[in-house]
Each structure stands twice: as C-alpha cells, then as structure tokens.
Symmetry: C2
Subunit: 235 residues, 2 copies
C-alpha cells in the first residue's frame, strides 16, 4: 500500500507528464498557427503556455515543501531534484511553442512559412512531437534504453534543421531576406525544442545510472540492455 | 563564527560567482572571435564552456549532498534550490557563448559579421557583459532593487536586437541572405544570454520576497525601497 510520502512523489511525476502533454499540444497548435495563419490556434498556444508556467511554479513549490517536510535522501532526493530540472526544460519547451505562435500572429493574415518550406516545417513538427512524447514516456518509465534513443532522434532533427538552412543560401532562395531570416529562426526553435527533450532523457539517465548519457560506455551499456527496470517511485 | 553548515552554503555562492565570471569572459571572447575571425579566442571559449559545464555538475552534486546530509529547511532550503536553478541559467549562458565561438570557427578565415554590423554587435556584447556582471552582484548581495534593474537593462538589449532586425529587411540589406541569416541568429544569441541574466535576477527576487519579479506590486515596492538587505547566507 502506498503512503502519503510516495503519493507526493507520484504526484510530481503526474504533474510532469501533464506538462509534457501540454507542450506537445502547444507545439502542434503553434505549427498549425504558422502554416495556416491560424490566429485562434496561436491564441490557444499562448494561453496554454501560461498554464505550463503555472504548473512549473507549482512543481517547484511542491518539491520545496516535500524536501522540507519529508527530508528524503538517496534516490528519492535525486528524484525530486531531477523533477525540478525537468520542469524547467518543459517550461522552456512551452516558451518555444509560444514564440512560434507569436511569430504566426505577427505575420497574420499572411502565412509565415513560404509554400515550398511547408513539408520541412511539418517534418520538424512531427519529429518534435514524437521526441516530446518519448521524453514523457521516459519520465514515467525511467527506461534508460528509450532515453538513449532520443540522441538518435535528435540527429534526425538536426538533419531536418540543416536541410532548411541548406535552402537558405544565396542564389538558391527566392523568397526574399525577411522569409529567409524567419525560416532560420523557425528551424532553430524546433531544434531547441528537440534539444530539451534530449535534456529530459539525459536527466533520467543520470538519475537512474549516475552516469552522463553522453559517455560512450553508457551508450554501449544501453545497447546491450534494451530495457532496464528501475525503482517504483516515478518522477 | 561560521560553521561548516554555512560554509557549505557560502561555497555554493562562490561557485556561482565563479561561473558568472566565466560566462562573462566567454561572451567577451566569443565576440572577439566573431568580429576578428580569431580562432584562438573561439577555442578558448569552447574549452571554458566545458569548465562551466563541470562546475554546474559539481554544483548539483554538492547541493544534493548538502540536502541529504544537512536537511535544511525554510530560507536555506530555498537558497539551495535557487542555486540549482541559477547554475542551470549560467550553464546555458556558457552554451550561448560557445555557439557564437563555433559560428566564428565555421566562417574562419572570413569574418562572420559584415563591417556595418560591428557597432551593433559590440553594443549587444557590452550590454550582455554588463547584465551578466550585475546578475553576479545580485547573486552575492541579494539586492532586490538591483535585481529589478535587470528588466530595464533587458529592454535596452531588446532595442539593440530589434535594430539588427530592422536592418535585415528586403531592400535595405546588401550583404546577401547568408549574412542576414547569420546576423539574425547572432542577435538572438545575445538576446537570450541577456534573458538568462534577467532570469537569475528574478530567481533571487523570488527567493528574497516570495513574489514573482513580474508582478507590478513588486516593481513599485522595489522603486520605493532601493536597497533591501537580506539574510547573511549568500547564494
């Protein structure tokens, strides 16, 4: 039977997964706002970002209260500290979705993305959403092998980002400087969103293994052990 | 007489101020790398960023050890949690300086910034350095009024950023699309660096007052009380 102590740790995990879902929806709707000059979608993203910020604030307050009242040690203490770090990543992911929504608003009624760039933006959006969803599953499962996959996913995002930049060179781009600058910033936002998903995964890897996810030894270990089951208390 | 308990909290503050100095030097040298195509400066920034990352990692480890062994409550607990958040801001500021250094490396032996944009870049660098230095003083002094000043400083940075973007419009820009995209990204990096300085200040404001720095009531309060002296233990 779970007691209040573990229920409070579980509640932190639940809050993080709620935030993860909100940043996914935010990025999805921000992309709609960008591609369809959809002001209603943009407005929803901006409203939702305020909810994410509030959830982040609550996460910090609950974590501090838990530390003060329960004085956890060892794994539970690290779980709380990690949840604080992850909530910060999720807050920034929400901010990035809001940036795109605001960009869509600024250009309304014009569409911010030139037609030939729509497939690239859709691909970056799809990769972002898949990575955020996977980061959410890593938060609940603490699955190290799944966490390590996000590095590979991020390489796919980097390629999509580079493809956008490849199209922006002098002589190849026919949509003017304003659109080139806009596309560069849009691509950078998706890339950073993905970076935060990787960062979340790496925090879980460190929580579970005590090793940085970037160490090659750990990458080998993850390949050898596809699923590592870990402690019951979620994060 | 200060005991080991307070010495450990002070050591966290000292670590943060060391990180603050390193990110200032990093941004200064990254700007040199950008403006003078100075590969040695770029290399120094990249090396220094690894030191900043290591200091950040150590900060987290020491904070977790302190929480586990000393089980602080109330103000000291919040000080530790805030130091974790600030170390994360500083790590990202180091990353941003590294991005500029890498951009300078990519374009070497060419200079990444067109001549007419040099004054704008120098102005953004000067503002960035001043803001990081002030954030460092806020960390040690916990001076709320000084912390609130960073919001105004950030408005100056936003204006410098907007001036760069104003020059990038179609018909006014004569340096090609590559340079336009590069200048947009460079300006964005300085703006984000400054945002993190503001974020550090806001975390101190919240630590000291329990109120978010963005609330108008608090801004009025800061104007009325130019210096608010706070607890002895630094952060």
């Amino acid at each position: 039977m779970r007691n209040a102590y573990h229920e409070q740790i579980d509640a932190l995990t639940t809050r993080l997964t709620t935030m993860t879902r909100l940043v996914q929806t935010g990025m999805d709707q921000a992309t709609t706002a960008l591609l369809d000059a959809d002001c209603e979608a943009a407005y929803t993203v901006i409203t939702s970002d305020a909810v994410i910020d509030k959830l982040r604030h609550d996460t910090v307050e609950r974590a501090v209260a838990f530390l003060a009242l329960q004085q956890p040690v060892a794994g539970d203490l690290r779980t709380i500290v990690t949840s604080l770090q992850i909530s910060s990543d999720l807050e920034r992911m929400g901010d990035l979705a809001r940036h795109l929504a605001e960009l869509a608003q600024t250009h309304h009624p014009a569409v911010a993305v030139p037609s030939p760039q729509r497939p690239g933006v859709l691909a970056m959006c799809a990769t972002s959403l898949a990575m955020a969803a996977k980061a959410g599953r890593v938060i609940t499962s603490k699955n190290v092998a799944m966490a390590m996959e996000l590095r590979t996913d991020d390489e796919a995002m980097d390629r999509l980002h580079d493809e956008v930049f490849d199209q922006l060179h002098d002589g190849e781009w026919s949509h003017g400087i304003d659109a080139a600058v806009r596309m560069a910033l849009i691509a950078r936002v998706y890339e950073r969103f993905a970076d935060h998903a990787v960062s979340i995964a790496e925090r879980i890897v460190y929580l579970v293994t005590g090793e940085n996810a970037s160490s090659s030894a750990l990458r080998d270990q993850a390949r050898l052990r596809p699923v590592i089951a870990v402690g019951a208390a979620g994060i």
